[in-house]
Symmetry: C2
Subunit: 532 residues, 2 copies
C-alpha cells in the first residue's frame, strides 16, 4: 500500500498490536476490490466484449498499477502469490460447486469422451509442449534449464483453467460442450497434478519404458482412489443427515455439516497426496444426488445459493489476485534487460499450447466419433474447433505450478527461472483476455442457434428464478431422466451393452440406485419423510 | 499430531511441497473435529446438563489430551492460539449474525439500560477487578506485575463472553433478558477494547483527573464513530442493491455483496482502530432492516441461514480451539512447581469477577428501575440475579486479550505472566462449564414460565420453520411494531418525551424512517418492486 495509506497507518495504533497491520490493510483492500468487481461485473453484464474474469483481471491490473505509481516503482503486491491460499482455500469451493451444480446426466453420458480428453489428451499435450520447448528454447538463449524443468513446463502449460471455462461457457446454453470441456478440465487438473508430482519424484536420470507404465499405473490408482474418497465422504454425509434427521432440528447444522464434510474430503485428499480436485468434484456430485434431498427446503435453497456464492467469490478473488500479482516489479527486472527473449519465449509457449491442444482434440474426437453409432452424438468439426478453442485458457493452476517450480526461495534471481515466471504470467493474461473475449463471439459464429441447446434437454433460464419452489425443479437428477427410461429397450441387455454402452450402464445404474442406494442414503423420493 | 500421523506423513510426498504440511494436517483435524462437534451437539441437544459450547470445549480438551499422550507430553497444540485468527476471521461472522438476527424492537426499547450496563457497568467492574487484584495479589507472591498489568487484568476479566451468552440464553424463550444481556455484551466488548487500548497507550506514570475525562471522551467518540461506520456501510449496501436491481440478475451476487460489505465494515473499523465489534453489529442491524428487503426471496432465505451457519461454525471452532489450547504443556510448567499459588490466584480472580459484576448489576438496575414508570418494565430481583449470573462467563475475548498482554514473544517464561495465562484459562474453562451448565436450570428455577415470554411479544418457535414463506414473517421489523403505534398518544409530544422517552423516540423514528429512509434505502413495503 505504501504511500497514502502508509502514512495514514503510522498515525494509528492498534488494539491487537501483534496482529500484522499489513495483513488487515491488504484484507481491507481485497474485500473492497471484490465489492467493486461484483458491482462492475453486474454493470457490464450485458457487454459482449468482456466477462467477469476479464473485469476482475483488469481491476487487479489497475490496482497494481496504482500501487506501483504510489510507491514509485517499489512494489505492486499486497501479498505474494500464495499457493497455499490458492490450493487450500480458493480452489475447493469452486470445484465443489461445479460438481454440486453440474448436470449429471450430461456428464455421465459423455464420461468416456471426457476421460479420453482429460487423461490421454493431457498426456499428449504434455509431451508436445515439453519436447517442443526443449527443442526450441535452445535457440533463444534464456539461461540454463534442466530436463526436469522442461517436463515441468509441459505439465504447467497443459493445465486447462477450469475456472475460466466456467466463466466463458454456459451450462444452460451449451450443455453438451460445457460438460465436455469442463469435465475434461477437471480430469485434466488431476492429470497435471500426477504428472507434476511424478516429475518431482521420479529419478529422471534413468528413463526407460517402465517409467511410462509406472506413470499410467500411478494415474489410474490416483484417479480411482480420489474418486472413491469423494464418493465415500458424500455418501457418509448423506447417511448421517438421513439417519439423524437433522432436518427436524436445524437447517444451520445441515448446511454446516455439508460444507465441512465437503471441505474435509478435499483436505484429506491433499493430505494423502491424492487429487483433491477430483475428490471434491465427486463429493459435490454425490451430495447433489443424495444429501441434498435429505435436508429441509430451507437448506436446499441455502446450500444451492451459498455454494454458488462462495465459488463466485473465490473465482473473482483469483482473477483479481492474478491481475495484481502480474505487475510485481521484481519479476520483470530480467525482462527489462532482454525484452526480446521474453516475448519470443512467451510466443513460443503460446504456440505450443495451441499446437499441443490441437494434437489431441482432433485425433481423439475422430476416435470418439468412431465409437459412436448415432449421428447426433458425433462431434462435428465445429464442435471440435470449439472444444479446442475453449480449453486454451491457462489460469491460476498454471500460475501456482509455475511458482512452485520456478520461484522457490529467491530462486527467481536465476535468469532461466525469471523468464519462466514472466512467460507464465504473459501466457495466462494473454490467453484469459484474448481467448476469453473471443470465445463468446466464436460460439455465436460457429454454432447455429439450434446447436446452442441440446435438443433432448429443455433450456433453462440462466439466472435462477427468484422464487423458491420452481428453483428446486431445476435439479437434473439421473433418477428422473427421460432419456434413461424412454430410449432404451429393456431386453437383450448384453447386445445393448455393446451397441449403446453408456445408456445401458445408465439404465442399470438407475435400477441399482433405486433398489439399494436411495433407501440407505436418501435422494429424490426418499427424503420427503424428513421434510414432513 | 506427532506420533501416528507423523510417521505416516513421512511416507507421503506432497504436490505443493512448500505448502506447510503441518497446516494441512491441522486443518484436516480441525474440520473433522468440527463435524464431530456438530453431530454430538445434535445428539445431546435434548440433554439439560450440557450445551454446544460445553460439548465443543470438552471435545477440544479430549483431543488435546489424546495428542498429549500420543506425543508423550511434548505438545498438545495443533496451532498456537492465534489472536489474528480470532479477531479477523472468527469473531466478525458471530457478531454480524447477532446483529442480523437480533430482535431490533427489544434491543432499541432497552437501549438506555443496555448502554448503562455495557459502558458504566464495565467501567465499575474494571475498577473493582483491577484494584481488587492489586490489593490481594501481593499476598500470593506470584511474581512481579506492573500497574499496567493490573489494569489489563481488570480489562481482560471485565470482557463478558457474548458468544457464550448466545449459547446459554435463548432469544425466543427469554427475549427481554436476552436483549439486555447480549446487548450489554456487545457494548461491553467495545468498552473493554477501549480500556485495553487506553491502558497500552496512556502514560500511566502521571495519572490525574483529566485521564478519567479522556477515557470517557475516548469511549464516546469510539462508540459513535464505530456505530456510524457500521450504519453507513449497511446503508450503502442497501442503496447499491436497490439502485442496481441486483435481484433481477443474480441471487449469488446479492449474497456475495452483503457478506463482503459486512466484512469490509469490520475490517475498516479494525484498520482505523475503532471497535469492529460495534461496527459489524450495527451493520448487521441495518442490513436486516433495509438491505434484506431489497433482495430476492432466494437471497433472503440464503442470507438468513448462511449467516447463522457461518456464525455457528465460528462459535464451535472457538470453543474447540480454547479447549485444545488449554492443555498446552508449556503454560502449565510453572503451575507444576507451585500449584497452590495458581489455584489461589484463579479463585481470587473468579471471586473478583463475581463481585465486580454484582457491583454494577444491582445498583444500576435500581437506577434503571427508578427511571421507569410502568411496573412491567422494571427489573425484578430475579431478573437482576439472572442478568448478573448470565454475564459471568468469560470466553475467547478474555483469552485473546490475555495472550496479547502476557504471552508476547516467549514472555511466558516470567512467572507472573505464566500465572496470568493459566489463571485466564482456568477462569474461562470454569466459568463456561460451571456457569454454563447451571444457567439453564437457574432460568427455569428463577423465572416462572410466564416470565419466559415477554407478554407483549408472541413467542416464536426456536427452530426456524422449514418452509420459506412463514420464515420471512419472523422478521420483527420496527416498521410494523404494534407497540409503537398502539401505546402512544399522538399529541403533547414534548410532555410525552419526558414521560415515556423510548417509545416517543421510537414513534418519531418510525415517521422519519417511512418518510425519508425507506424510499431511498428500501425496506419492507419498498422492496416489493424488486421482487416482482
Amino acid at each position: 500500500m505504501g504511500g497514502g495509506v502508509g502514512s495514514l497507518m503510522t498515525l494509528l495504533g492498534r488494539l491487537v498490536s501483534d496482529t500484522d497491520q499489513a495483513s488487515v490493510e491488504s484484507i481491507a483492500l481485497f474485500v473492497g476490490l471484490l465489492c467493486a468487481c461484483i458491482v462492475i461485473g453486474h454493470l457490464l453484464e450485458e457487454n459482449r466484449w468482456t466477462n467477469e474474469a476479464i473485469n476482475s483481471l483488469f481491476i487487479g491490473l489497475g490496482t497494481g498499477l496504482v500501487i506501483l505509481l504510489a510507491t514509485k516503482g517499489q512494489s505492486s503486491r499486497i501479498m505474494e502469490f500464495d499457493e497455499e491460499l490458492f490450493f487450500i482455500y480458493l480452489l475447493p469451493p469452486i470445484i465443489f460447486n461445479a460438481g454440486f451444480q453440474v448436470k449429471k446426466k450430461q456428464f455421465f453420458r459423455n464420461f468416456m469422451t471426457i476421460m479420453l480428453f482429460g487423461a490421454i489428451g493431457t498426456m499428449i499435450s504434455f509431451c508436445v509442449i515439453s519436447f517442443g520447448a526443449k527443442a526450441l528454447f535452445g535457440t533463444l538463449d534464456i539461461g540454463y534449464l534442466e530436463l526436469r524443468d522442461y517436463l515441468a513446463i509441459g505439465a504447467i502449460f497443459s493445465a486447462t483453467d477450469s475456472v475460466c471455462t466456467l466463466q466463458v461457457l454456459n451450462q444452460d446454453e451449451t450443455p453438451f460442450l460445457y460438460s465436455l470441456v469442463f469435465g475434461e478440465g477437471v480430469v485434466n487438473d488431476a492429470t497435471s497434478v500426477v504428472l507434476f508430482n511424478a516429475i518431482q519424484k521420479f529419478d529422471l536420470s534413468s528413463i526407460d519404458s517402465t517409467i511410462a507404465l509406472k506413470f499410467l499405473g500411478n494415474f489410474f490408482s490416483l484417479f480411482i482412489t480420489s474418486t472413491l474418497l469423494g464418493v465415500s465422504v458424500g455418501l457418509l454425509c448423506a447417511y448421517v443427515i438421513k439417519r439423524l434427521y437433522f432436518g427436524r432440528h436445524s437447517t444451520d447444522r445441515e448446511f454446516a455439516l455439508m460444507i465441512l464434510m465437503a471441505y474435509l474430503s478435499y483436505i484429506i485428499a491433499e493430505l494423502f497426496d491424492l487429487s483433491g480436485i477430483l475428490t471434491v468434484f465427486f463429493c459435490g456430485i454425490v451430495m447433489a444426488h443424495y444429501t441434498w434431498h435429505n435436508v429441509t427446503a430451507g437448506s436446499r435453497i441455502t446450500t444451492k445459493h451459498a455454494f454458488a456464492t462462495l465459488s463466485y467469490i473465490a473465482e473473482t478473488f483469483i482473477f483479481l489476485y492474478v491481475g495484481m500479482d502480474a505487475l510485481d516489479i521484481e519479476k520483470w527486472e530480467f525482462v527489462r534487460k532482454s525484452p526480446g527473449k521474453c516475448v519470443g519465449a512467451s510466443a513460443l509457449l503460446l504456440g505450443l499450447v495451441l499446437l499441443g491442444r490441437a494434437a489431441f482434440v482432433f485425433p481423439l474426437s475422430f476416435l470418439s466419433n468412431f465409437a459412436k453409432k448415432s449421428k447426433s452424438d458425433k462431434l462435428s468439426f465445429r464442435h471440435q474447433f470449439t472444444i479446442w478453442w475453449a480449453g486454451l485458457m491457462r489460469g491460476a493452476v498454471s500460475m501456482a505450478l509455475a511458482y512452485n517450480q520456478f520461484a522457490k526461495s529467491g530462486h527467481t534471481k536465476q535468469p532461466g527461472n525469471a523468464v519462466m515466471i514472466t512467460c507464465t504470467i504473459t501466457v495466462v493474461l494473454f490467453s484469459t483476455v484474448v481467448f476469453g473475449i473471443f470465445t463468446k463471439h466464436l460460439l455465436r459464429l460457429l454454432l447455429p442457434p439450434s446447436d446452442f441447446n441440446d435438443p433432448t434437454i429443455p433450456s433453462e433460464p440462466s439466472t435462477p428464478p427468484s422464487m423458491t419452489m420452481p428453483l428446486l425443479a431445476n435439479e437434473q437428477d439421473p433418477g428422473e431422466d427421460p432419456m434413461g427410461s424412454r430410449n432404451i429397450p429393456r431386453r437383450h441387455s448384453l447386445r445393448m451393452l455393446l451397441t449403446t454402452p453408456t445408456n445401458t450402464v445408465h439404465y442399470y445404474w438407475r435400477k441399482f440406485d433405486d433398489a439399494y442406494m436411495r433407501p440407505v442414503f436418501g435422494g429424490r423420493g426418499f427424503g420427503e419423510q424428513v421434510l414432513g
